[in-house]
């Protein structure tokens, strides 16, 4: 691990640094670029959105007098004659974690200016993401065929359907958007846009390899949200 050499000398660390960074008329985020600070603030706002979804799910589940459908059975699949609880969700979890691993390595190769490896790893991430969305589409279809609706389902509390569609739908939308942006940025990296200083189509600015990390932060966040959904909605 590289020690923070340059900035550590220029600015104190720890609590002293915390106070110094936030005080007086200056930039608060010394080490983070504008892009990184902005993506973090965006992710923070997204945290609140998902936080509110999950806590409204908690509210309806705690207050209903009708038993909640058992997710372990609802999401079970019959594979080779055996009924395996929650198996599809487990596979989806492993796929998303795998995509997070490939993304983390893509960021690393991006900073090393190894554009082919970075692009290939981003494409792998996008492929994992797309298969995740595909499985989610399968899961939705299966549940809709079994009669789950936002206003009711055959197994218990009607709020189950609305929570399920809202939370997984919003998360799936995030994954889909992530896949689209991964493809766009992988193409730029592959073409060497950030080496030759090619101007972007939309902003007409020169991009930097930092965008790979920004993309990575978004993608890891999507994985992070799934960790909470998996634990609180599917396992609880």
């Amino acid at each position: 691990m590289t020690k923070p050499v340059l900035t550590a000398r220029a600015h104190p660390g720890g609590w002293q640094g915390f106070a110094a960074d936030w005080s007086s008329d200056q930039r608060a985020f010394k080490s983070a670029t504008w892009g990184k600070a902005m993506i973090w603030i965006f992710l923070l706002s997204d945290t609140f959105v998902f936080g509110c979804f999950l806590l409204s799910y908690m509210t309806v589940r705690m207050s209903t007098t009708v038993p909640w459908p058992n997710p372990s059975e609802v999401f079970a699949l019959t594979i080779a004659g055996r009924n395996i609880p929650l198996i599809l969700i487990a596979i989806m979890t492993f796929i998303l974690i795998s995509s997070s691993g490939t993304m983390a390595m893509a960021v690393n190769f991006g900073y090393r200016r190894d554009r082919v490896k970075a692009a290939v790893l981003m494409l792998a991430t996008a492929a994992f993401g797309a298969s995740f969305v595909g499985m989610q589409a399968f899961e939705w279809t299966k549940l809709i065929m079994e009669g789950v609706r936002p206003w009711g389902n055959p197994w218990g509390a009607p709020q189950f359907g609305s929570c399920f569609f809202l939370i997984t739908g919003f998360h799936g939308t995030h994954v889909t958007i992530g896949v689209i942006f991964l493809l766009i940025i992988a193409r730029k990296v592959w073409r060497g846009d950030f080496d030759i200083g090619r101007r972007g189509f939309f902003t007409s600015r020169k991009g930097r390899y930092e965008i790979v990390e920004t993309m990575g932060l978004y993608w890891h966040f999507v994985d992070l949200v799934w960790v909470f959904i998996f634990a609180l909605f599917y396992l609880w």
Binding site: T2, W40, T65, L86, I97, L217, F230, L235
Partner: protein, 245 residues
């Protein structure tokens, strides 16, 4: 200049670090799946699920998102505000607990749960001492006692333990059936649940295609048998009401 320092400061780590974290995420996910696979229950289940969730989230944020190498100013700006969400969760937990208690008190017929619960508690008391054999009297008492009961059956866990106990006692079930259907002369069909059936599918089969939504009628007709759990299993016998009911 600024990019260079950011570049130097945080983001050059050996690939091995990512692979190790990746491996741990797999192990932890497998652990949380096994919690469900082995059907652990109670406090052990909740604490394990939360533990694995927090460790996974911590690894992703700290290493994959490089938060561990950021300056404290950014760490606190991002990690402290979600604490407000936790406060919100606490407030809503308190609120929904109250809502649940109120519903238990005033919705005696909804989903038959409250009724089941009250019957259940009576059954428990009768088993432990007083023996009420006149179940019809029990039923009437249950209806009257509903308003007073929720305090006893506040947690859904208790309900779950009572419901199977009730299901085993065919006496109560048959009596409740008798009460539910005594004043109905409508013709009920009998249906044996097949493997792979859902209430929706049964409704489509019995009431015709496109009438799956009428599964509610089946639930209504079998309230006493299903004991509010609304889960069916192959071999179970259900009453199918006339579709125009």
């Amino acid at each position: 200049m600024m990019q260079d320092s950011a570049h130097l400061e945080g983001q050059q780590h050996p690939i091995k670090l990512y692979l190790v974290v990746w491996g741990w995420l797999f192990v932890l996910s497998t652990c949380s799946y096994l919690v469900d696979y082995f059907g652990l229950r109670g406090n052990l289940r909740w604490s394990l699920i939360l533990l694995f969730m927090m460790v996974k989230a911590g690894l992703i944020v700290a290493v994959f998102m490089h938060m561990a190498w950021e300056r404290l100013a950014l760490k606190y700006a991002i990690l402290v505000p979600p604490g407000a969400v936790l406060l919100f969760v606490a407030i809503m937990a308190f609120e929904s607990d109250y809502t649940h208690a109120t519903r238990m008190a005033f919705f005696p017929t909804e989903g038959s749960t409250a009724q089941t619960a009250s019957l259940g508690s009576q059954l428990v008391t009768s088993e432990t001492g007083k023996s009420h054999l006149n179940a019809a009297e029990d039923q009437a008492e249950a209806a009257r006692d509903n308003a007073a009961l929720p305090g006893n059956i506040a947690s859904s866990e208790k309900k779950e333990t009572i419901a199977p106990a009730l299901a085993d006692s065919s006496r109560v079930a048959s009596v409740q059936n008798g009460i539910a259907f005594a004043n109905k002369t409508a013709q009920f069909k009998v249906y044996t649940v097949r493997p792979g059936d859902t209430l929706w599918k049964i409704a489509e089969r019995e009431f015709g295609r496109g009438h799956g939504g009428k599964y509610r009628l089946i639930i209504e007709a079998n309230k006493a048998l299903l004991f509010g759990s609304v889960r069916i299993h192959p071999g179970q016998v259900l009453r199918i009401p006339p579709s125009d009911a």
